[in-house]
């Protein structure tokens, strides 16, 4: 799985460069979360613009990232959900748990 990561005023933004997050690659996302949280990231925006498909294991890894961030007294927020991804969050009620933004900029703004 490919990522691009940027730092902006203490917040890490991770762009997921993959059209699917499923049981075949979700472990790679988990590893990347661990790497970021081990390297002084507390607040993380995960941008899902390129992700067209997510399954329950992909949701699970985002939940685990959310919990990691909370433990560090930070927050994991999401941006740019495509329609299938959005439906999966709604179906599993996770849209009530995560802060979800239309764009990365909106997400960044919310930390201010």
């Amino acid at each position: 799985m490919e990522f691009k990561t940027e730092q902006t005023e203490g917040v890490t933004v991770m762009y997921v460069r993959e059209d699917r997050i499923d049981a075949n690659n979700s472990e790679e996302l988990k590893t990347e979360f661990h790497r970021l949280f081990a390297n002084s990231t507390k607040d993380l925006v995960v941008d899902l613009k390129e992700v067209l498909f997510i399954d329950s294991s992909g949701l699970g890894v985002l939940v685990s990232g959310y919990k990691n961030a909370s433990t560090l007294h930070g927050t994991l927020k999401l941006s740019s959900l495509q329609s299938q991804v959005k439906s999966m969050f709604e179906l599993t009620r996770l849209h009530r748990v995560f802060d979800i933004f239309t764009t990365v900029d909106d997400a960044l703004h919310s930390y201010k």
Partner: protein, 142 residues
């Protein structure tokens, strides 16, 4: 003319085939006779259902045999869409699987697959037998 389609797929029990199977499911859904938007929704739901069902068969059933295969059937017949996923593992009790927790306090990393299947399909059954188990799902598409 009838519009029945039946596809039986056998693949090695590995998640690398998820993309292939979901694409096949999407193509089948696109042949279903129904309004465009319904078809689009059905197509992405079928992709999810195939993924969740297959991942369970791959991860939870009989994972010790490296040459293990999984068998999936996608069937469109008389206004119903059927998905059947066969496994040869120890099986489990579908009715005993609880709903996931919906609040951030008790939130788990896993345990959403069966819930998703139940939400997207009209019926979900798991039938165990000596010759193998099958997760049988049906959705009305008329």
């Amino acid at each position: 003319m009838k519009n029945n389609i039946n596809i039986d797929i056998t693949i090695p029990s590995h998640t690398r085939y998820l993309r292939m199977i979901t694409t096949i499911g999407e193509k089948v859904a696109q042949e279903i006779n129904c309004p465009e938007e319904v078809r689009e929704t059905l197509s992405s739901q079928l992709a999810v259902v195939l993924t969740e069902g297959l991942v369970n068969a791959i991860k939870h059933a009989d994972c010790t045999d490296p040459n293990k295969e999984v068998h999936v059937q996608i069937k469109v017949s008389n206004g119903d869409l059927f998905v059947r996923i066969y496994d040869s593992g120890a099986g489990f009790d579908l009715e005993a699987i609880p709903e996931p927790c919906f609040t951030s306090c008790g939130m788990e990393d896993k345990g959403r697959g069966i819930f998703i299947l139940r939400s997207l399909m009209d019926t979900v059954k798991y039938v165990r037998s000596d010759s193998g188990n099958v997760l049988e799902m049906r959705k009305n598409i008329r």
